[in-house]
């Protein structure tokens, strides 16, 4: 790859040829595995497609079916329920952890421990909790029994299954979220706390008057990232309950997967995927607007 010696082509710098060479692999990856599938996914949502014969255009049939499909609406409801529990719990806990780390010790080992669950896959997290929360033998139920409560069929009871799955995913992701918030906390000048302390403000007052307002833009970004991620819940459900009991944990992504790979209705599955995509875009946009993420109080 001997390019001409610089003496010869010193003049106005133009590296177009070299640049094409340099971005070629990434551009191919981008176009073939991101842009093309996105367009194709939208196209497939307007077809009847079973993977074996070529897709047949069928207009809005899939969308009409979707609007009339009670299982779809139920799965949307289950997903939203999951997201609300997951995000509420996770954000509150992560904020607590981040603030405590900020005030107690910024040492790496503590942040390392908090992050450890994030290092294992959703599948591992799901299986460990499947065992810990097992009705017969799980240590979780043993503890409940010891403190005089009834055993709970965490993943087999339709009322408990979504909160339990939410909790499993909080375990895996709370440390990561806490570290994101922690990084945000580092942008708040220590002098503000010193001033607060001089004025005799308590830790709680300082948290409410200094930390929270200044953290708002970061919290907004954290929320957008985590909510969008939370809507895509699949692994935990696929490993623990497969949507059951009945449909009580059939989250949208699992329904889509089941429709495509269980029943080979790729067209309908694509239409539901588009619905999920629209939901995610709307949520991102709304959250961004509502929380005024672009403005910081730290002028």
């Amino acid at each position: 790859m001997a390019t001409a010696t610089p003496e010869l082509r010193r003049k106005p710098k133009d590296d177009t040829r070299l640049a094409i060479l340099f971005i070629a692999p990434a551009l191919v990856g981008f176009l073939v595995f991101m842009i093309w599938p996105t367009l194709r996914g939208i196209y497939l949502s307007f077809t009847k497609f079973n993977l074996l014969t070529p897709p047949e255009f069928n207009g809005f049939d899939n969308y009409v079916r979707m609007v009339q499909d009670p299982v779809f609406w139920n799965s949307l409801k289950v997903t939203v329920y999951y997201v609300v529990i997951n995000i509420a719990l996770q954000t509150a806990l992560a904020l607590g952890i981040a603030v405590m780390m900020q005030r107690l010790t910024k040492r790496t080992w503590l942040r390392g421990i908090v992050l450890t669950p994030y290092l294992v896959s959703n599948v591992v997290a799901a299986l460990v909790f499947l065992w810990i929360l097992d009705y017969q033998l799980g240590i979780g139920n043993k503890v409940l029994e010891m403190i005089g409560m009834d055993r709970i069929a965490f993943l087999a009871d339709s009322n408990w299954v979504i909160p339990t799955i939410a909790l499993i995913n909080v375990w895996r992701h709370v440390g990561y979220t806490a570290l994101l918030i922690f990084a945000g906390l580092q942008t708040i000048p220590e002098t503000l706390y010193e001033a607060g302390r001089t004025d005799g403000a308590s830790e709680i007052t300082m948290f409410r008057r200094i930390t929270l307002p200044l953290l708002r833009p970061i919290l907004a970004l954290v929320l957008i990232i985590t909510v969008v991620g939370s809507f895509q819940v699949f692994d935990t459900v696929a490993v623990t309950t497969r949507g059951g009991p009945v449909d009580s944990s059939r989250v949208l992504q699992y329904y889509i997967y089941d429709m495509a790979f269980g029943r080979f209705q790729f067209g309908y599955a694509s239409a539901m995927s588009v619905a999920l995509l629209v939901v995610l875009i709307v949520i991102t946009f709304l959250q961004y607007r509502l929380t005024r993420a672009e403005q910081s109080d730290l002028a």
Partner: protein, 313 residues
């Protein structure tokens, strides 16, 4: 906005360990420590429980389900996971009896993650260099186009990508699992471009004056100077691909391309009549989790400090 939502390695923004001003003993602080200790226990207990169960005998778990130590300690769980027990032995010990061999899945996982990491980091670095340092028309436009990719949730591309991989005849191959993320991710390009932009131009110009070509500057100067962010990106990519479940689940059907996460799901679904083979299952989860935990042990500081934001003023 797309740029701002990207978690990005911030080179140690945290001023290391400056002690917070502390007033002797303080009830609030003690309470805060109690909270943190609970968080630590909550984070780590499941790992201990995996180990404790993996080292127990399945049949003893019923009687000793509340014992904090392994009950009737044995390596049986691990032996089943690595296919070292015969079918009958495994069934007697509460296993499923089907032959399983996690060495094979371990090797598949290593191959897939290595392929994805090496390809993604290298090709993204090349593209990032073109975006940061080369002069060409439409550079900013093309880069904006790449950034828009950050907005597409990965999950949306999975189904159509599966159709594509099937058309390419790559279903149930390791290459089929790796290919979609092997060439780039918008995040990797963005992340590396940020860093390349920060490298002083003077060093580069000096090299050009000495007659080095841009290609040479990239390989001999830019890449070595960026070893820290490249390593961070590589570690994060490796962990992500190691832990991925949904995509490999779609693509792999048989042992030929089965990676650890998918194998765990299959192992779980082979539950024998008598009830799940918990000690085998926990041994298997430990095998799947351990490589990343060891990686974390070595690179904890780098990984921990890589979590943060960029683009926030």
């Amino acid at each position: 906005m797309a740029t701002a939502t990207t978690p990005v390695a911030v080179p140690a923004t945290v001023t290391a360990d400056q002690p917070a001003p502390k007033p002797g003993f303080n009830f609030g602080r003690a309470l805060a420590w109690v909270f943190m200790i609970l968080v630590i226990l909550g984070s780590l207990f499941p790992f201990y429980w995996m180990l404790r169960t993996a080292l127990s005998s399945n049949n003893a778990l019923y009687a000793g389900s509340d014992s904090l130590l392994p009950v009737d300690a044995s390596w049986g769980g691990f032996q089943r996971v690595f296919g070292l027990q015969t079918g009958q032995e495994a069934i007697d010990a509460g296993g499923a009896g089907q032959p399983i061999n996690f060495w094979h899945y371990l090797a598949n996982s290593v191959l897939v993650s290595t392929l994805i990491t090496a390809g993604q980091v290298f090709f993204s670095a090349m593209a990032a260099y073109a975006f940061a340092r080369l002069q060409w028309r439409h550079r900013e436009k093309v880069f904006g186009f790449f950034l828009a990719g950050l907005m597409i949730p990965a999950i949306f591309t999975l189904l159509p990508n599966f159709v594509l991989i099937k058309q390419l005849g790559l279903v149930d191959t390791l290459l089929g699992i790796s290919l979609p993320t092997m060439l780039m991710t918008p995040f990797a390009v963005f992340f590396l471009r940020q860093f390349f932009l920060g490298i002083s131009r003077e060093v580069e110009e000096a090299a050009h004056v000495d007659g080095a070509s841009k290609v040479r500057v990239f390989f001999r100067l830019i890449l070595p100077m960026s070893s820290a962010p490249l390593a961070t990106l590589a570690i994060l990519t490796y962990i992500t691909s190691w832990n991925d479940y949904f995509w490999p689940l779609m693509v792999s059907y048989t042992d030929r391309s089965r990676v650890l996460t998918v194998a765990l799901g299959v192992f779980k679904s082979q539950t024998p009549q008598t009830g799940p083979d918990w000690s085998g299952l926990m041994a298997a989860t430990l095998v799947a989790a351990l490589p990343m935990l060891i990686l974390f042990l070595f690179f904890a500081k780098r990984i921990v400090n890589s979590i943060g934001f960029s683009g926030i003023k």
